[in-house]
């Protein structure tokens, strides 16, 4: 067994030698470097186990409820419902869901970008090349441009940006946005 193979096993069992199969355990008796790795893993695990959980600070729940007092359960907007529909809870659908969410991103943002492109014409700072770049008009944009609801677009983007982790598998990146 090679050092590399033994060290993979060591990471999996946090360096607990008793949990290793005989061949890996035998390797450890001969290899000082791997023994040191096992020791470091046991130390790391021990320190993690010592880490005390942080309780919520005094008055936290009251402060939450003060905010909730003013809020209403509003329900989901149409795109949240769409995402909910596209995102079944079963983790086995992860890849499928990533693709579906990415598709929604492309449709929503691509549509918005195309709309903006159409309104202000080419050469306005968008770049293609496999990445979506969302443009936001600067303050004082010239009058007479077609009205685009960028705030709504950005709101959608913000919600969708939280699903970026899901979209990374299929290579869709939200490169930048400004409020």
């Amino acid at each position: 067994m090679t050092c590399k193979q033994v060290r993979r096993l060591l990471v999996s069992c946090w360096g607990e030698v008793e949990q290793l199969e005989a061949e890996a355990a035998a390797h450890l008796t001969e290899c000082e470097e791997c023994r040191r790795e096992a020791e470091m893993l046991r130390l790391t695990h021990g320190l993690l186990r010592e880490a005390k959980p942080e309780a919520a600070p005094e008055g936290f729940a009251q402060r939450v409820m003060a905010q909730v007092g003013e809020a209403e359960p509003t329900g989901a907007s149409w795109y949240q419902r769409a995402l909910g529909w596209l995102a079944p809870p079963a983790p086995t659908f992860g890849r499928l869901r990533a693709a579906a969410v990415a598709l929604v991103l492309v449709l929503l943002l691509g549509g918005g970008v195309a709309l903006y492109r159409g309104a202000v014409g080419p050469g306005n700072g968008f770049s293609g090349a496999g990445a979506l770049v969302v443009g936001v008009p600067r303050d004082g944009a010239s009058p007479g441009e077609a009205p685009i609801d960028f705030e709504a677009l950005m709101l959608q983007h913000e919600t969708l940006a939280q699903t970026q982790a899901l979209s990374e598998d299929v290579g869709v990146h939200l490169v930048s946005y400004r409020r």
Binding site: L48, A51, P53, A55, P57, V68, A71, P73, G75, P89
Partner: protein, 207 residues
């Protein structure tokens, strides 16, 4: 899946149902029940009490506002964790971008012989001012905060919050295999960071 908080699953479902209809005292009971879990998780993700308070509050507020879209397919506590995860990963990423240029433990060591000239950038650590144990905990916290957000989320949820692989997959919206491989990488990276600290004498190993 059962709630591992003090309330039974049926009690949680009942409270969620009432809160969905706008019953604030019912929601307050849920906040009481889950505040430590959510705050503890967000605090470990961000490492800053003020930011953790803001993000944890926002988590509960958004949960209340979005309750009508919660259909109970996931358990309430994984759903809450999921909101907290999305928010804290976003904030952590933004912080990282703002801190670009800070010295990182990820930089490779200069040589085999050990040119350990680089500083270890942990905020607020003055070795003389802290007791050894507290200092050690600060170092561990710093090592966790130094992990990329995705690995940090998995290691905090599994090793510190005691969540199962299955729940973590649901919280982070990724396959089980991804959870396990991220956990493997997080363990290996944490071990490497602490090893570096031992090598530069920041951390002592009790034999």
């Amino acid at each position: 899946m059962t709630s591992d908080a003090g309330l039974s699953r049926e009690q949680v479902e009942d409270l969620v149902e009432r809160a969905r209809a706008g019953d604030r005292p019912a929601f307050a009971r849920l906040v009481d029940e889950y505040q430590d879990k959510i705050y503890g998780y967000v605090y470990r993700m961000l490492g800053d009490a003020e930011e953790a308070e803001d993000v944890a509050q926002e988590t509960f507020l958004r949960a209340f506002q979005s309750l009508p879209s919660f259909r109970g397919a996931a358990s309430f506590h994984t759903w809450l964790y999921r909101i907290a995860s999305n928010l804290s990963i976003d904030v952590a990423r933004r912080n990282r971008r703002q801190n670009d240029g800070a010295i990182s433990l990820d930089e490779p060591l200069a040589s085999e012989e050990g040119d350990y000239g680089r500083e270890i950038a942990y905020e607020g650590i003055g070795p003389e001012q802290l007791t050894a144990r507290r200092e050690t905990q600060e170092l561990v916290r710093g090592a966790i905060e130094d992990l990329p957000e995705k690995l940090r989320a998995v290691v905090v949820l599994y090793e510190l919050q005691g969540e199962s692989y299955e729940d973590i997959a649901e919280i982070l919206g990724c396959p089980l295999g991804t959870v396990k491989s991220r956990l493997f990488n997080a363990r290996a990276q944490l071990k490497d960071k602490l090893k570096q600290l031992v090598e530069v004498g920041e951390l002592e190993v009790e034999q």
